[in-house]
């Protein structure tokens, strides 16, 4: 086990917070993209596409 000395608690806390925030950012972009792809697919299956047009 790596000896982090007397400041171990501060070092571990810093890595912990950083890991949690970076994981949150990654989940934000990955889940956001999936959710938007799902919405677009759903719209497409209902016939709402860019090919759809107003009759006016």
């Amino acid at each position: 086990m790596l000896d982090l000395g007397k400041h171990a608690v501060f070092i571990i806390a810093s890595y912990g917070v950083t890991g949690a925030v970076l994981l949150g950012l990654l989940l934000w972009v990955v889940l956001g993209e999936r959710s938007q792809q799902r919405i677009l697919k759903d719209l497409e299956s209902r016939g709402v596409t860019r090919r759809g047009r107003s009759s006016e």
């Binding site: 925030v21 972009v29 938007q36 709402v48 596409t49 090919r51 759809g52």
Partner: protein, 159 residues
């Protein structure tokens, strides 16, 4: 800018929290209202303000204009952050990397610091590209929904 603000807020939050955690053993306190710490906290609030502004205004062009004005005004804070340690007597140490003479940090710490600075910059670009893609998809689906809501819209059957 809309896609970049949450990433900027997260990185600034990390700077504040990890700096504060390191401040306790080195300075004897987690926080002090000195120039550097306060100006970085103001930067964090500016990012939150930008995010709130984008969410508060539905019209993309109006939201973009308001956010651009806030970003321009907020940019005044950047030189304040940089020079805060020289302008005011602060608990935070003066510039130790970007100095006219050699950096004041030992190479055993300076090298990993620069490596991590490059790594976080690249991570920012990666996250920003992904966030911009999400934003483009979001706007596309919003436009399609708006289009479908029009009374004379003709649905195209899925192939």
């Amino acid at each position: 800018m809309k896609a970049a603000a949450p990433i900027g807020a997260a990185f600034t939050f990390l700077a504040l929290v990890t700096g504060s955690l390191w401040g306790k053993p080195t300075w004897g306190t987690y926080w002090q209202w000195d120039g550097r710490m306060t100006s970085v906290l103001v930067l964090f609030f500016l990012y939150l303000g930008l995010m709130a502004l984008w969410e508060a205004i539905d019209d993309y062009s109006r939201a973009g204009r308001a956010a651009a004005i806030l970003a321009l005004v907020g940019f005044i804070n950047i030189p304040i952050i940089k020079f805060s340690v020289e302008w005011w007597s602060t608990l935070h140490q003066p510039a130790s990397v970007s100095r006219l003479d050699a950096p004041a940090i030992h190479s055993s710490i300076l090298t990993p610091l620069l490596v991590m600075a490059i790594a976080f910059t690249l991570l920012f670009f990666l996250l920003h590209l992904k966030a911009m893609r999400v934003e483009i998809l979001k706007r596309r689906s919003a436009r399609l929904m708006q289009q479908a809501a029009q009374p004379h819209f003709q649905f195209q059957p899925a192939e």
